[in-house]
Amino acid sequence: MKIKVQRKVFSEVMSIVAGVVNPRHTNPLVQNVLLDASKSGLLIKATDLEVSLQYQLNDASVSKAGKVLLPAARLNGLLKDMSAETVELIADDESVVVSAERGKITLQTADVEGFPGFPEFKQDNALSIKASDFAKGLGWTGKSISPERGRYAFNGVLITTGKNGIEFCGTDGRRLSYMKVAGKAKTYDFPIIIPRRGIELFTRMAERAPDSDISLDIRENEVVARAGNAIASTALIDGQFPDYWTVIPRNNDKTYVARRADLISSLRLAGHVTSVESQSVAMEISKQEITFKTRSPGMGSAEVKLPVTYAGPDCRVGFDPRYLLDGLALMTADDVTCEFKDNETGVIFHEGSKDKAFFLVMPLDVG
């Protein structure tokens, strides 16, 4: 193999690709990237066996085709520290010489045999979605998934497709976020639950080309996505995602509207007097006013008032302020609508249209 590449572009791509590699993976082979030089340019491939990424670098001049495996982190670091415009990679049987201007670095290569295969992207049945929508949906719902390995399905975002659009839902069993974006797609008879690593990879890929479309080739155990020159894949979580529509409260009969910024600052203020023993913020709603109350034994208490538009009966609901702050931070509108019922029922927050997106927080009951 003998190729010449623009260093800056190569470095940028490498930093994304190297992000897929798990440097502590038990299989040392997948700590490498595969460089595959051919007539069509340089194809860079990496995987951690859960997610994978293939990136086609077109503006590489290939004078001799070939495949090599190089340690991902090392190559990535190397390219970052070089300043030359172009770098040249020349491979023999055992090593690759990376040279640019003054520097000449020889890296040992690993045997290409045994490097795992990569899923193929098939356009035929692919689902097309705007990259910016895809990133938004994953970003909005990815926050609510559970970091802990409890119920497996809670570790990923569920994507549901249909005539009316594409829906995203993430929950850890204590809160839930939902978003629907426009688009037409066929329905699948299996749940599409994207794990955290996949969410991160797809989001990064979508954010790089926000104006283009992303094509998703969805199969029963994996999703292969293509955007521009990149093909990413992720394994799907095999689990039973709860039928969330049945648990989302339908008759939250009380509503108030508050300024989002005020809500955030009030919660933050009251949240200063929470502790491990007492994590809850009590939201006491009365005519035209909410009071956020916290109290921690041996520490103190807080009471923060916020004027709101509300005309219903007095009510009190407790919850974990962090869940609320996470959700409010993802919103963009000035005003937020809160729908609630009592201390047993989930509280819903949205930016005006509940159909498009909302998040739900389950109450925290004291004793």
């Binding site: 802990e148 390995r149 409890g150 648990v247 974990d320 739900l360 925290l364 004793g367």
Partner: protein, 650 residues
């Protein structure tokens, strides 16, 4: 021997029953020789039983020095000599008569026993199955008297020479009961039993001097007027001396004194867990259990604490007349004693706040290593220097190697390297004890006598800390260093915090969006119905779900509980296991225990400086952190003195 008042005190024995059936045909009254042999079967099982009876008699006679000589581990000869009050000639004649005792006069006395022996069974029983010779002299009598009794046939008393006191010789034990003789074990085992028997008496009477010889070899010699602590150390070993915690608990019902081992001391068996009631060694499962429970949090599961506890209570509160060997007793207020022992031991251990210390017995080990290729004689010679604890002199008890690498947490490891085989060790021990039975402690044992550091001071004393192996924390302190097992330590902290939290306010319950169905067996489901409120107290909202099933609708917020199913299941298992003792307090404890374990930092979790600092800080708030709730040690202390020893600077 004290047989001054030789009355026949009638006890409800086989004899009266036999009398009642006298008139019935075919059933014949047993001749006294046979009745005595039967009684002997109950009391006298082996040489150790004889030694016990005779030594107890000597103590009752007010002896201050007792010498026990054995031949053939007691199978040939047992001679017990004392300097007690001795017997007049008239008493001597009755000594071997059945139910002749100097210790009971009336039936009422049977319920108020403050002497060691009383049943009047022992000597006649012994005499019926051996050749007994008694020489006794009272202090105010110029000459001694002697009688012999061969299988119940007694000689006339004749004058003899002898010092004040009594010498009893029991020869040819079981000569006329060949079956029993056949069942005697090999000499080392029988000798081991004798040593154990004398140990248990000697521990209760530290002021009395004891000497034990076998085949003219000295096994041990205990000086008179020892303090109790000294006596324990001379049996339990020098290692114990700085690890003994004094227990003192008095009330109108009973007084409890003695010593227990610090949490770092634990054993694979219950041999060093000894209870004495009114100076009598007893085995009582319930009271032993009280000690075990007191240590439950301090020592690892499956190990036994070290405890030498002495209960003194009104003799009328305890019935020692349950079994001829008097090893089993009954208490009028057993549960009260249980609570008393548990509380007193627990309090003593907590108060001492002793951090387990690294056991630096490497010197011993080194010497043993050096001996690896040495001859038997060299080994013997060298072993004499070790002056190891005396109980290890039991040649019969070879279950534990006594030369081993001291490892943190387990001062006696089962897997310790063994450089000598059992036989070598046994003979080496005997020889060692023969040559220097009362050698002074080696200097390194004394230097480790230091004040313990309560965990609360750890943070204040800390100068610096870092993590090693993503599992342990090393803390530099003003007097050395402390090694912390991060998981066990955090577990202890959480355990305390949970206990504290749950008692101060009801837990916050995070409602679940989707109820989590519990996968339970029918039995578990039924049990859950009973204990639902208990789970609620911990913050689990469990409701019936489907047909006969349950689901979780809310989980406690204060602790990470992703594995609700696992938690509920193991709690219910625990409940089922403790089925007979459904004590809510215990149950609560084990649930808190489980939650703390599941939520604690794991070994392998990397910690940053701030994490370590807060961990140590949190630890300082907890009353004690030296063992996790399962009893594994959490911290180990290595003082500069210890370090100096490692590098041979001391």
């Amino acid at each position: 021997m004290a047989y001054k008042r030789a009355d026949y005190a009638l006890a409800p024995s086989a004899r009266t029953i036999l009398d009642r059936y006298d008139a019935m045909p075919k059933i014949q009254k047993l001749p006294p020789e046979i009745a005595n042999k039967i009684a002997a079967g109950e009391v006298i099982e082996r040489p150790a039983s004889v030694v016990k009876e005779l030594v107890e008699n000597a103590i009752d006679a007010g002896a201050t020095r007792i010498t026990i000589d054995l031949e053939d581990a007691g199978k040939q000869l047992i001679r017990v000599s004392d300097n007690g009050s001795g017997m007049e000639c008239d008493d001597l004649v009755l000594a071997c008569a059945e139910h002749a005792t100097s210790k009971l006069n009336a039936v009422d006395d049977l319920f108020y026993i403050d002497t060691m022996g009383f049943r009047g069974e022992a000597l006649p029983s012994i005499a019926s199955i051996s050749h007994v010779r008694i020489v006794s002299r009272t202090t105010d009598n110029p000459e001694a008297w002697e009688i012999t009794n061969h299988g119940g046939e007694q000689s006339e008393p004749k004058p003899a020479s002898g010092a004040p006191g009594t010498v009893i010789e029991v020869a040819n034990l079981f000569y006329n009961t060949p079956v029993r003789r056949k069942f005697l074990r090999q000499n080392s085992t029988e000798l081991g039993r004798v040593i154990e028997t004398i140990e248990n008496i000697a521990l209760a009477y530290p002021a009395i001097g004891f000497t034990l010889n076998n085949d003219h070899n000295a096994i041990f010699e205990l000086p008179q007027k020892q303090a109790r602590r000294e006596r324990i150390v001379s049996f339990g070993g020098a290692k114990l001396s700085d690890a003994l915690i004094e227990v003192n608990d008095f009330d109108e019902y009973a007084s409890l004194t003695g010593f227990v081992g610090s949490p770092g001391q634990h054993r694979p068996n219950s041999k060093d867990l000894r209870l004495f009631v009114n100076r009598r060694f007893i085995r009582d499962r319930s009271l032993l259990q009280a000690v075990m429970l007191a240590y439950r949090e301090f020592i690892p599961h499956g190990r036994y604490p070290v405890a030498y506890l002495f209960l003194e209570l009104d003799p009328s509160e305890v019935d020692v007349n349950v079994h001829p060997t008097k090893i089993e007793v009954r208490f009028t207020q057993a549960s009260r004693l249980f609570g008393k022992i548990k509380a007193a031991v627990q309090e003593a251990v907590l108060r001492s706040g002793q951090l387990p210390r690294l056991d630096l017995n490497d010197r011993r080990l080194e010497q043993v290593k050096a001996l690896a290729g040495a001859s038997q004689q060299e080994i013997h010679a060298s072993l004499q220097q070790f002056r190891a604890p005396l109980p290890e002199a039991r040649p019969g008890s070879s279950a534990e190697p006594d030369l081993e690498l001291a490892t943190p947490g387990y001062d006696r490891t089962e897997h310790a390297p063994r450089l000598l085989d059992d036989e070598q060790l046994a003979s080496a021990r005997l020889l060692r004890d023969k040559v220097s039975p009362r050698a002074p402690l080696p200097p390194y044992a004394e230097s480790s006598l230091q004040a313990s550091t309560p965990s609360a001071n750890l943070f204040e004393n800390a100068r610096g800390y870092f993590q090693i192996g993503n599992a342990y924390i090393v803390v530099e302190t003003t007097d050395g260093m402390v090694l912390i097992d991060q998981h066990a330590y955090h577990e202890r902290i959480l355990y305390w915090q949970l206990e504290h939290r749950l008692s101060s306010q009801p837990p916050e319950i995070q409602k679940l969006l989707v109820p989590e169905p519990l996968e339970l067996t029918r039995a578990a489901s039924a049990m859950l119905g009973e204990h639902r409120e208990l789970f609620r107290q911990f913050g689990f909202e469990l409701e019936p779900f489907g047909s006969g099933g349950w689901a979780c609708y809310g989980v406690p917020k204060y602790i990470r509980t992703t594995k609700v199913n696992e938690f509920v299941k193991s709690s219910l298992d625990e409940l089922a296991a403790s089925g007979r003792a459904k004590n809510p307090a215990e149950l609560r404890k084990s649930m808190v225990d489980m939650m703390a374990c599941k939520a604690a930092i794991k070994a392998g979790d990397p910690l940053k400086g701030a994490d370590i600092e807060s961990l140590i800080k949190e630890g300082a708030k907890v009353p004690h952190t030296f063992a996790c709730p399962h009893g594994r040690p959490t911290t180990y202390k290595l003082t500069f003195t210890d370090i100096e020893k490692i590098f041979h600077r001391r």
